[in-house]
Symmetry: C2
Subunit: 272 residues, 2 copies
């Protein structure tokens, strides 16, 4: 029976695109429905530096770090994620015979989000409110559009930009975008690729890999991990809440069949 598999591959994390594309070709040829979601934070940082508008980051009181996205940063972000990562990921997939189709949340209103009216930023120990930030939290995914693309034989490749109620482009977290898409499709698997073998109890010791996390252990694990991994675990929880059967956090940096290995149980698996 056809499985629906949503795969998030990295921006910042040094994930290798070519072995992933090879595995996507294999899964698609087996008849699986695949959606790819990518990041692009590293490219956005590099482009920001190159054009003289370097990235700025916000640390929230609850310990998350996010990009401060004013209008000019949103342009840089769109050029990096839609223009570079998405375009050339589609190219790489087409080169291995996958009929990839790039889009972002603006296109056909794929991902509708609520813009954060103000974002709390911790600066020198004080909380400051930022009001010109084009970031948001996804509310709904246009499942009919994805189904329509599947009907046309296309493999959607999604950039982490959503559309607000006022139709502004918003920077959204790619792990959580992948989680929302997986939930909307009631996916069999959500795979969150990173550059480590999964969640490590004693980072960076690979022997401390946690192979399985039960739903009621997730909150404990969120407090165990740091930085980007916090958002992945949060995404895993949101996906399970949304009806996804299985979430796997796995190593996307291996040259050796990263998706096949993850599906075979290498990584950290979450299920209800």
């Amino acid at each position: 029976m056809t499985k629906t598999i949503v795969i998030k591959l990295g921006g910042a994390e040094g994930v290798q695109f070519d072995p992933i594309c090879q595995d996507v070709a294999e899964l698609v040829s087996q008849g699986e429905r695949v959606v790819l979601v990518h990041g692009g934070s590293n490219e956005a940082n590099l482009l920001g530096d190159a054009v003289g508008y370097p990235a700025k980051f916000i640390s929230s009181p609850s310990g998350y770090t996010s990009r401060y996205t004013d209008a000019k940063t949103m342009e840089v972000f769109a050029m990096a994620v839609n223009g570079k990562i998405n375009t050339f990921l589609v190219q790489s997939l087409q080169k291995v015979g996958v009929n990839a189709f790039g889009l972002c949340g603006l296109d056909g209103r794929l991902m509708q989000a609520t813009r954060k009216e103000s974002v709390k930023s911790i600066e020198n120990g004080k909380i400051r409110l930022i009001r010109d930030d084009f970031t948001g939290k996804i509310d709904t995914v246009n499942t009919a559009l994805l189904e329509g693309l599947f009907q046309l034989g296309l493999v959607p490749v999604v950039a982490p930009i959503a559309i607000s109620q006022q139709s502004d482009a918003l920077n959204v977290d790619a792990d959580r975008a992948a989680a929302m898409i997986a939930g909307a499709l009631q996916a069999d698997v959500l795979m969150l690729l990173t550059a480590v073998p999964g969640i490590l109890r004693n980072f960076p010791d690979p022997a401390s890999l946690i192979a399985k996390v039960a739903y009621n252990e997730i909150d404990t694990v969120i407090n165990l991990v740091e930085g980007r991994m916090k958002k992945k675990v949060l995404g895993a929880k949101e996906a399970l809440d949304g009806g996804v059967k299985q979430v796997i956090i796995a190593d996307g940096s291996t040259q050796n069949q990263p998706l096949v290995q993850a599906l075979a149980g290498h990584g950290t698996m979450f299920c209800k």
Copy 2:
């Protein structure tokens, strides 16, 4: 009866996007099928300058000028046209209620092209052959894909990047891309917007506007005009050859209903 209207709007020419988007909303609400094709050469030049990789141009022996697109320039071009122009044109259309959907020729192999194996460049009066140029000439348009997008209620917004037989991204001329798409769809109208009222017998005198060009006069007109306008007239001819009923070269820089005015006969009209 539903008309199919393909509209090329400029990159370089200072075309105003907002009045065009308003008119697109009007046409779509009347039930017309609309495809937009955009350029982006000016943005690509600006981005090339900003990242320290300025655009280089090739003059062909037959008098056409085109962008020299090595691999790095292709990246810059993709960031400018897919990342910036396409993304924010889709945003502008969504803001006026048009369910726009951005794509380029890589996506679902919308536009297949043959890469130019070598490009002749006139340099200091001598002809040089350039072999690392990622430019091409479109052979086929995936009409089924466009029809599929129409079925989903989407308005395609197409960036001028095609896919080669080897699945490489290729920079293609946007006017001729629009002509090929219009031909593939057997469009009723192809509209090529520019920043002048149409073809001017005595450029830049607006009183010298040529209101109508018969098919057998096109070759004469090609020799009359210069620069970008040559490609537009060539595109007009290709479109008529491909079965498009009418081609209009019109002013896209007016604030006052540019598409409505063009359809009402303001501009230079070509038909067989």
